[in-house]
Symmetry: D2
Subunit: 378 residues, 4 copies
């Protein structure tokens, strides 16, 4: 099968997100990186391309040149899809121009800086019928997919309670240092949007809830945490959730949970069974029951759903990690580009991106209005 021609925007140098996307694009033999713009600085741009062993003829000096030059190529050679790994504020203009010119898009999150922008991309994607993949990486884990399928199959009965958290501690050395907290771009509302913690990781937790339960969050009530009066951006917070069907939930996110590394975890309780999963042990899915022994589901076993098994490449007992998870997202996008009708659970779309921004803006609004309920668009 011919590989899909992939262009990369950003992600050069020491970028971790760059490594992650390149590896993910390779893992299932679907993509070939044919060009891109790794860096605004030409020397670094071309140097990086050489360093990772790419031919340099389609490394462009900037994004606009990439669009212009690629459009001159015959369609059978042209980049089909671009991965946007640039700073957040560039996501919107790049994704917009790419779709306007007929390119599929893979975009890092947050999709845009504002819900307004997100809705524009959503409308454009709907109009053009292009594939738009948003890399909520964690939904690519086999056991996250298994959760979704178990909920959908009715194995949990009616969902009655949802609990999600995303705890990190990395902002401690910045937030407690007056100098640093006033000079970090992530805490500068003019550069990073209206939220730090909810925008960066709360939105992953939000997406995880909607992905696994198949339910939309209808309204929220937020209490955010700024820690210092001179700090404009939340670095921690708790949010009550009300799902579309009235089920209640709680979302917690923090960047000051000292010693926590990347603590995304979700628990979903139905009237028959419960589920618990933690990102730091991604291959373990706990299935809880009131009257039966706790069960531990692991990837690759025949008892898992098709969607889950489709994201497993190795036999049980061989740990799959974050590259595999991202690779599963890329696989879903590839199947969409090839019109292979992927399941709605195979990759997050522009709609997920719109909802993410709706969430972030609602969270901040709820807090600022004095901890009141705010409804989300449905």
């Amino acid at each position: 099968m011919q590989k899909i021609r992939l262009g990369i925007l950003g992600g050069g140098g020491d970028s971790l997100i760059g490594v992650l996307h390149r590896v993910a694009s390779f893992i299932n033999d679907n993509y070939e990186i044919v060009g891109g713009v790794f860096n605004p600085d030409w020397e670094q741009n071309i140097g990086f391309a050489k360093q990772i062993g790419l031919p340099t003829n389609r490394i462009y000096k900037d994004f606009d040149t990439l669009i212009a030059e690629e459009l001159k190529l015959p369609e059978a050679e042209r980049i089909q899809v671009c991965s946007i790994l640039t700073p957040n504020f560039l996501h919107f203009p790049m994704a917009k121009k790419l779709m306007e010119n007929g390119f599929h898009v893979i975009c890092e999150k947050p999709m845009t800086n504002t819900y307004e922008e997100a809705k524009i991309l959503g409308a454009l994607q709907a109009e053009k019928g292009l594939v738009f993949g948003l890399t909520h990486t964690y939904t690519g884990y086999p056991m996250v997919r298994q959760m979704r399928e178990m909920v959908k199959s009715g194995a949990l009965g009616n969902i009655q309670k949802i609990d999600v958290r995303y705890y990190q501690g990395w902002i401690n050395p910045i937030i407690h240092d007056k100098e640093k907290r006033s000079s970090t771009w992530r805490l500068d509302a003019s550069k990073a949007g209206i939220s730090c913690c909810m925008g960066d990781i709360g939105t992953h937790a939000f997406n995880m809830v909607e992905y696994t339960t198949g339910l939309r969050i209808a309204a929220l009530l937020a209490d955010l945490n700024y820690l210092y009066e001179d700090n404009q951006m939340d670095i921690d917070g708790n949010i009550f959730l009300k799902m579309e069907n009235g089920v209640k939930g709680i979302l917690r996110a923090s960047q000051i949970a000292t010693g926590e590394e990347n603590g995304l975890a979700i628990a979903i309780y139905g009237d028959k069974k419960g589920l618990r999963w933690e990102q730091e042990s991604p291959n373990v899915l706990k299935v809880l029951s009131d009257h039966e022994p706790l069960q531990i589901y692991t990837p690759g076993h025949a008892y898992n759903s098709e969607l889950s098994l489709g994201g497993t490449k190795l036999p049980p007992g061989h740990p799959e990690g974050i590259f595999d998870s991202m690779a599963n997202i890329y696989l879903g996008v590839a199947r969409a580009i090839r019109n292979q009708h992927p399941d709605s659970g195979e990759y997050p779309t522009v709609v997920d991106g719109m909802r993410g921004l709706n969430f972030i803006e609602s969270a901040v609004a709820s807090h600022k209005a004095g901890n009141v309920w705010v409804a989300l668009d449905q």
Copy 2:
């Protein structure tokens, strides 16, 4: 050393709480059970006394007789302290009359049905100078005590975030059955007070926060969950917390967390270190740091605090369980009765009971007022 003469009220027959208190009273060689009232039915009362091998001469037909008869005995023979293990609504009148007649009290939680009653007991205890122990059993665990001491010593730096939960799933078969949920006393506000979940287990979570952090909760904002319109009592809920010094926290409690058994857990994050503990693995205390390896503290090691070591009887690696934890509470009460000036962390007092009721009533008030902040008495 002469043993303390202990009377027992309730806890006969198959009562689990009865076993727990009797064993706890024995474990550190401090108490002798000399009499009590195990059951309102005389045959069952005296039968139970015989079954557990007690002399029957001080088994009384009812509580009032116990008080009257014991007061006739010389002080050196008289019951010194009574454990109240009766249904909740009896806690208040029994505790009141006991103290009025000069007896020390050990009382199961909830201390009373209302905050009003709790304050009366508080005033009485202060006036009489008697020992009043409230059995928030979980604070007797060596590693819970270690948390308290580590916070106090400054090992965590300034506390900046608190997260506590208490999740169970036992009410599922009741709450989802219309017949059962209308006939269970715990869901009947006229018998069980204004709250089911927050009253029963939320109050343990509340106490755990104040015990370990040494900080008082100043205000809360609650969202409770009733699941059915015909159900009067919360069976789940999430509560935002504001501590006396402004630190924010989240408290979650549930009786519909399907498959959860007795899931009390707390995380405390300071600007230097974090702590995590779970009741179901009570001998494991995780000490988190941003830049050093996670440390696992276990009981009995010399690196633990004096308060923690005082609650450990066996060498490292020998699991201590719930009997030991309750026994530690009894030990604290014994030391208080003997005027051995126990540390304030050795047993929960009437003040803890007052705060618990203040919490429960505030939680329901916050929810009913439409999820608004309610201040607690300080």
Copy 3:
């Protein structure tokens, strides 16, 4: 029900084993401690009795006096059973004399110093028909009992592999110090018998294998570890096992496994299912299957066997610890004394003691003969 009159030999002062036995005797309301000899020194003996609140009239100056004086009492008042908690070399003469005079016995392990002595006790017990309980404490855990019952029920299919270990690290500071290792009684063959590690903890591992599998070990091949040439006693070792039906196993024990606390663990693999259990998380039993999710069994659930549930006093989620486990052994002995026909799994008997000594002597013989197979008595 009248309590069983219990005498205690040894276990005074700071003795941990003393605490453990006293608490265990209390927990199920079966025993009353009526007398004993806590210490060869009279002041300490009587002082300790007072400290733990015992009447002093039946505290005797030595073991022979206890026997003589108790025999003068009417049978209905006389001590019925004695717990032997004295140094190892006294186990044999005390147990022998007790049984010769019609007393039941509870004995700490190792039962005796030699297999020869063990066989004498075995013959005597058989002849007299008295109850002899050996405190292999770990077999009292509910989930250990559950293992035994699952094997017996055929849930594992045919057993095909056994793996047991008991790892501790406590001897490090002694064994690496020439002075200390030559002056510690446990490393002195004239005082502690022919084995340190296998005698002290290997025998627990051995008993655990026979208890849970219901199979006898038929032969072994040992490689022991002495670490220093001037050290006479094994402090670590590995032993191949052959069960009576030919199944193979491995037993590992160590006192130099640095940082291990009390690491007893067993895995049993049948052709249908496998089981794994660890003493440091005694309430967790893992049930493994090739094609189904791992199951976690915990105590107190209706899915457990009767034998297991008989050792659980509290609801699921309330950790039971080492006191409870020992208490279960005491309960089994009480039921035997009362002729309540306890299940063979309720307490370890003199036969278990004989097998333990047979094991220890065979282990040392196998090693000393150059790592050859040695058959055990069947």
Copy 4:
């Protein structure tokens, strides 16, 4: 930097090992797959190349043709290194011919079928000075590397005890079915060599011991398990180890450990500290101490060694899996091919392969001679 030109032998179709090697070769941007022979069947061979998007001009009909045609190419275009993923019996002739013709080699394990063959490859590699990487994948995990470095640094003190196991259960459905066990190639000594369990996974455990401790195994005494009389090949076994400096150890491997998936685990105890690691939670390294809290080391933190950090691509909390581990081996080989003087811990060499075969043959010899000690070449 120019990519290293890689050829692949075998690993086509559904081969899992094929996926693993291709992904690993990509992850660090060092290799370009330029050709190979995926399958003896031409249609499948060329079909697979197309499926994974490779140019087909250097897909050859067989191994000999590959050698012949590649040698005709100028050196700057020629394949530099070949990965041998073919059935075991082809490893030896292919590796031999590759090295004779100046190609570097990456070889799946077992390196050869016999120790004799292994020594021939060892001599050839030494003579030619080519790079020979043997894919003992598990040594590529960051925390395995950390173990090695901690031992080397003296953090453990003197090693005094070693315990390694590799438990799987996959052979159950084959071994218990007479038909299947007589027709499976892995249980056919004429095809798979003299050992099944020790050859397939025992050798990984053996390599793990020597890799992490830096000590050579000097002698062993084995007890292997065949389960049925008509079965020629061990499917389980226990082996006593004696290290070059006299330290004792135990190695256990099984394919009948029902329900175990890929249970490789090692414990190393020194007189100062102990280490424990399990492959199924590869990012967790436990550092044990007698008097300090257990420490949990995880990848990516600055407290890890350089060798460990060199194998980590993402921040703490992002799980790395088996692809990353294999990729680290490929990175080590790439550095060797480029003469970047890799640390001896970066990839397993032909010497490791020789030792592995020496181990397997010694294990079987020890067992067959009646469980006697057999010395290994040093």
